[in-house]
Amino acid sequence: MLVSVLLWAALEMQRSPYATYQDVAQAQPVPFSHQHHVAGDGIDCRYCHTSVETSGFAGIPPTKTCMNCHSQIWTNAPLLEPVRESYRTGKSLMWTRVDYLPDFVYFDHSIHINKGVGCASCHGPVDKMPLTYAANSLQMEWCLNCHRAPEYFLRPRDQVFNMKYEQPSSDNPVKLADGSVFTDQIALGNELKHRYNVRSVEGITSCNTCHR
């Protein structure tokens, strides 16, 4: 009895935000607001995360990228002092990672984007995050949800960076470049799986897909 209770508690704890930091906003040197920059200013993800389409690593913007704008606007907002200081001294800003993967997991951004996995699918509604937090647990079982049934999540490539994108439904049909219209995610997903020739489920649930 006691044993099973403890076991259950352990399993719960293991999945709890305490362990995964899911939905926990981290303190950052600069309280950077994705909400403001993405929703407000309408800046595209790729402006800062430059290598997301070409490399496994999405890329953290160098201080220079911040200064591109902030040398013009908010030039002396005290909030941005750390940024300016970093630029002056050449000392890097030390951000705290919010979307954390263990070191033995090899995640490649470019291929996911190429296969029509939206940023939001993993990172959540970044455009609604005043302070950034991990929207998902990023635990293996969570990854497997999609790797076992991609059709539930795929979206057209041109919608990958669209934060407003919603899955097709009768009142929200999704139109592909070639004009075909979908009102049902499964149908769309299967079509995209075919078009983007996504590997077989056995293939993308093979261990070496993520672990080396």
């Binding site: 399993l11 293991q14 635990q139 079982e141 497997l144």
Partner: protein, 464 residues
């Protein structure tokens, strides 16, 4: 189910021999009860006992130290390497598990075979089983590279979405050994309940009284209870019998399932089980002979028990011998070049001396048990039992080390040399076992009281 001594029809009671009795005459319900219970309740703590316990505890401390160092530094402190990935840890595991088997055999199988003489030795035989399994159980965990992840062997819904790999004999081991441990414990405890009641009543101090009372769960010997109790007891025996056979079979699968020459053979299951009982009874004698001597239980654990055990050792020993012979025969009959080389390597290879020692200790020496005089001499029995225990340990050494050290590709042949840490851990478990036994005989009735009562002639209900 109980029967008097006069109508003995047990397998092992050869009619042409006049047997010593199971229970010396002149006993009564009261006398057996008192004698057994008092050994625990009133008998003063002897120096011998203290010394024994001290030694045991000392070795347990050694075990603790060795294990701590092991976890901090890694299994590299042992002699294992590539190709010999398994060393003392697995040898000891198999050895201890084997020893456990005799206990279950006595308590379960002999019960089913209506061998009432087992009533006087089943209790501590079962205790022995439990402690041996506990010792064995440590090793699979200790020998892991990352023991703190040992729980991955059990199926539980983890956040990784992955499960144990059920094709692996190691997972079978996990199931078999844990089940075996559990069922043995159940069997043992169920058997103890009525005796705990006795202790409850006999105990003087409030303190001990309440403890035994707790354990007895309010047992009051109602006929209805006895009825259900007996039903369960028989059923447990019926469950434990296939279980005990399965456990060493599964352990032998660890080897038989693999493709290593010298491991990959179908004869392993029966020959492992036989070997297990062989070493198990050896351990029973190694324990029984001193206990009956020091606690003056000669009238309950009589020569009869010792002789029967000796006969069983002789029988199982011959099965084991058959195993050895057949291993060799198959090696050549199979025509497999690897098998042949394996056998020749055992005979002439770097570990040949151990092989021949094994043959001497396990096959040759025990043959003296054919001689009734030897079976009747406790000293001889004790020594032979020790010899067999060593021999059986060597058998596992031979199987594991020689087979691994020279397998398929000559380029990757290796050599295994145990380190002091290997010995430390082994000695530690021996100490743990000894300490456990010493404590057990001080706090629990070492002989099943209520089953002893059944051995008394007056326990019979005379139909008029």
């Amino acid at each position: 189910m109980s029967q008097g001594p006069e109508e003995k029809t047990g397998l092992l009671d050869a009619p042409w021999q006049d047997e010593p009795p199971v229970l010396t005459p002149g006993q009564s319900y009261g006398s057996v009860t008192d004698q057994i219970a008092d050994a625990v309740l009133t008998r003063p703590i002897g120096l011998g006992w203290l010394a024994g316990l001290a030694i045991g505890m000392g070795l347990v401390a050694l075990l603790g130290a060795a294990v701590t160092y092991l976890f901090l530094v890694g299994v590299g402190i042992w002699g294992i390497n590539i190709p010999v990935g398994w060393g003392f840890a697995i040898i000891n595991f198999v050895w201890w598990i084997g020893i456990g088997h005799a206990g279950t055999l006595i308590s379960a199988i002999l019960l089913l075979l209506k061998q009432t003489w087992r009533n006087s030795i089943n209790r501590f035989a079962e205790a022995m089983t439990l402690f041996a399994v506990a010792c064995a159980g440590m090793f699979p965990l200790l020998h892991m590279g990352r023991p703190w992840l040992g729980y991955w062997m059990f199926p539980y819904p983890n956040s990784m979405g992955v499960w144990p790999q059920f094709r692996s004999p190691l997972v079978w081991d996990v199931f078999a050994v844990s089940t075996y441990a559990t069922i043995s414990a159940v069997f043992w405890y169920v058997g103890l309940v009525p005796d705990f009641a006795t202790m409850r009543e006999k105990a003087q101090s409030r303190y001990t009284k309440s403890i035994y009372g707790l354990l007895a769960m309010g047992w009051r010997g109602s006929a209805r209870h006895w009825k259900r109790y007996e039903a369960l007891y028989i059923l447990l025996a019926g469950l434990a019998t296939p279980l005990v056979l399965s456990v060493h079979t599964v352990v032998s699968f660890d080897f038989a399932i693999s493709i290593v020459p010298g491991w990959h053979t179908t004869i392993f299951p029966p020959y492992f089980v036989a070997g297990a009982i062989y070493s198990g009874f050896a351990m029973v004698l190694v324990l029984a002979i001193p206990i009956r001597h020091f606690y003056g239980l000669q009238n309950m654990i009589t020569m009869r028990h010792l002789q029967n055990s000796a006969k069983i050792m002789l029988a199982t020993g011959l099965i084991v011998a058959y195993g050895y012979i057949f291993e060799a025969f198959i090696a050549f009959y199979s025509g497999s070049t690897y098998e042949r080389f394996m056998m020749e390597n055992r005979w002439f290879g770097p570990y040949a001396v151990f092989y021949w020692a094994l043959i001497l200790l396990n096959l040759v020496v025990p043959q003296v048990l054919w001689i009734p005089k030897v079976r009747a001499n406790t000293t001889w029995l004790f020594l032979i039992s020790l010899v067999i225990l060593v021999g059986m340990w060597l058998e596992r050494f031979i199987i594991i080390i020689t087979s691994l050290s020279r397998d398929f590709l000559p380029s990757s042949w290796g050599h295994y040399v145990a380190t002091r840490w290997d010995y430390a851990v082994f000695a530690g478990t021996l100490g743990f076992f000894a300490a456990a036994i010493f404590i057990f005989i001080r706090i629990m009735p070492a002989i099943s009281i209520f089953e002893m009562r059944q051995l008394l002639p007056e326990s019979e209900v005379k139909a008029k």
